[in-house]
Symmetry: C2
């Protein structure tokens, strides 16, 4: 049975004078002059229980506690429970490896991740993933409302889709296969198959040996692809509207979580002001701002550009388009010596790469050798274009990067439930 | 730019007398006595264009066509376009490997899958995945409305979570890792971390060498886990309500797709009548119905049980609970010699396995040796229970199996966009 008598803590504060039963984890126990103050935690919040009797359970034990709600100016939230009885659902061992009732700022990233099963109990760390869940929901809701259909493509592929480097090899029934770097080919295939507008929420894998605060080897890619566009501009305008919707949703649904982190999303309305600059203009802005000439829009340049956008346009976000061909894959649609492609930077970090793709079979055949590719390397991918594909394009957002930047987290691994890096495959 | 003048085909039928521009794929071309009847297809439907002039494009070419909508009793849908002009967005090669404008019943499964990039253009085959998208959406919407939080757990694991057999090994930076068989441990971890109610939509991998119409090696698992329950019954009642919601949603949102397959979901209201029988009772029912004694509830028994339920309870679905311990993993919560676990059968196929899990650390330590396991085999998993875990349980639904059974497809691969089996890793 579900316990029919249980009251969620968030609902208990308004039940002054009533007898309630709360179920949750023992978050904190203090003994002040013989009075025990026990903070109980459930999925909805925390509440103080007060008792004169001994309370022998270690923190993190799970109990159901009964008592009467009474108003109290001193209690957090303005009410507490006079504890009358409780029963134990699970008693915790007393040697908790990391404290979960203190600000996690005192813990190293290693300690947080090595003890992931426990550290996630810290309400501030768990809040990260409540925000992430809302980001996933907002993504699906927004694109469905725009006529997009969700797809689920395979993550096991026979060969590399975008050059073949940085792939994790897999023993697939004695044959070599790989984990997919992105659903790029599949989302294009589904546009061409007639869905026209598709999105996918799925894992992507990059066997890159980097060790930076912005990279993980397995991440959740929020992918979008749409047909019947003739440049990257409709994609940029679509993403601009999505970002406004995302910020509006997170601000509304995650007020408590944002509060714990003293963080906020940009004003949704200011998404209208996100500037669009070309790749060359972006380098010029960096030069004008810092006096330094940069060859690439590197991570330092991304930070400079977002600071510039905050100052000049009131929001720390920038679209960069017109990337040179050498910076983009073979399928990027050319415009003179540039491509109809773009990045979106958010608070100093690239969170999106996208663009129009080549949809014309002859143009694609012409492009391949410039990238050291031939038609047979691409297998069934070429069929998409050989048999009639509308002009199209799309983009992908990194879920963990968005979460990281909303909260201002130093390392992307903090925004990943069970992060995978070169050293870490557990827990 | 997005073409501002474009009208979706579904919207064009009501615009009699108006000039419209339609964009899509040339689905069919017929020449009847010098009059060309061209069926154009877009994501919203199909419409006939009529022209006296030559129409030289192969089917599947992508065009934007302009003309006036006129009522016609003979035209499908009651209206057609008098074609005035068109431009070509992409010309298809004339050697289409499989026809996409005929009933796919004439194609072998091999032909459909070998030419997947093209066969998906067949509106009847594409309809499968429009229904699947609605199933995914309904799953998220329902469980969010019940207070569940979505999680995204890692699919790369250091060791086997449920015995270690049937895992795909992976070369992870020179070390051996595996693809996860299920998010089982992670969803339990997130219940214990304080979310209490979680769901995940993600891929699961089984390196099983089977070749059956109900197995694929990579599938989408719809996972649910919830805390503060004391048997499998609340899980069964929760899933019963979800199935009713799912059928209601598919019937409402996928009427066109169900029509193409001449299929229907069960009456949502009849989900109240889905019987719950114990594992032993299930075997008795099979014996009474067929005269044959079965040792296991095998695939043939699953079909018999669903036929029985249809006849006796008006719906071809059965919950089976009280599975014996030997049939369930180490974490299944015992009840006498049985377990608090269940399956759900739908139209002759198991689509769910679930149950209450052991949440008490001492009970888990006692159970492990019976399954040939020791505490150190389970790594951080044991921390979940050592430090206070509420009673909990959950279940998982196979997305492709649900889709298969809604439409009555012979093989689960038909319900998988890019299926992976022993032989197939492409496209």
């Amino acid at each position: 049975m579900v316990n029919e008598n249980r009251t969620l803590i968030a609902d208990a504060f308004s039940k002054t004078g009533e007898q309630v039963e709360l179920c949750g984890w023992v978050h904190r126990v203090r003994n002040l002059g013989g009075v025990r103050f026990i903070v109980l935690r459930d999925r909805s919040g925390q509440m103080q229980l007060v008792s004169d009797a001994d309370f022998p359970l270690p923190v993190e034990s799970v109990i159901c506690a009964r008592g009467t709600v009474r108003a109290s100016d001193k209690a957090p939230g303005g009410a507490e429970i006079a504890l009358e009885s409780y029963n134990v659902l699970a008693q915790a061992a007393p040697d908790l490896p990391v404290a979960v009732n203190q600000d996690p700022g005192g813990l190293s990233l290693g300690a947080i991740l090595d003890n992931r099963m426990i550290s996630l109990r810290n309400p501030k760390l768990l809040a990260i993933f409540r925000i992430q869940a809302v980001c996933v929901q907002a993504f699906g809701d927004f694109f469905r409302s725009e006529g997009f259909t969700e797809i689920k493509s395979s993550k096991i592929i026979g060969g590399g889709s975008e050059g073949g480097t940085n792939l994790f090899p897999l023993d697939y029934f004695g044959k070599k296969a790989y984990l997919a770097q992105s659903p790029q080919l599949y989302k294009q295939a589904m546009v061409a198959a007639g869905l026209e507008r598709v999105f996918e929420i799925g894992h992507a894998y990059r066997a890159e040996k980097h060790e930076t605060p912005r990279h993980i080897n397995e991440y959740v890619s929020l992918d979008v692809e749409m047909g019947f566009i003739d440049s990257e501009r409709p994609l940029i305008e679509l993403e601009r509207r999505f970002m406004a919707y995302l910020f509006e949703t997170v601000r509304r649904d995650n007020a408590r979580e944002l509060g714990l982190w003293e963080a906020d999303v940009p004003n949704p309305e200011s998404c209208d002001a996100i500037p669009i600059v070309s790749y060359d203009e972006a380098k010029d802005i960096v030069k004008k701002t810092t006096g330094q000439r940069v060859m690439d829009v590197n991570p330092e340049a991304e930070r400079v550009l977002c600071d510039w956008a905050q100052k000049e346009h009131g929001i720390a976000m920038v679209f960069i388009n017109d990337f040179p061909r050498r910076k983009r894959p073979f399928y990027a649609y050319p415009r003179d010596q540039k491509t109809m492609s773009f990045d979106l930077l958010f608070r100093g970090l690239e969170i999106t790469t996208g663009g129009r793709r080549i949809h014309e079979y002859p143009m694609l055949l012409e492009a391949l050798p410039k990238y050291g590719l031939k038609e047979s390397d691409l297998g069934a991918y070429m069929d998409i274009f050989k048999y009639g594909c509308p002009p199209h394009g799309g983009f992908a957002l990194g879920l963990e990067r968005i979460t990281q930047k909303i909260l201002g987290l130093a390392n992307i691994k903090e925004a990943t439930l069970f992060p995978r890096d070169r050293q870490r495959v557990a827990p």
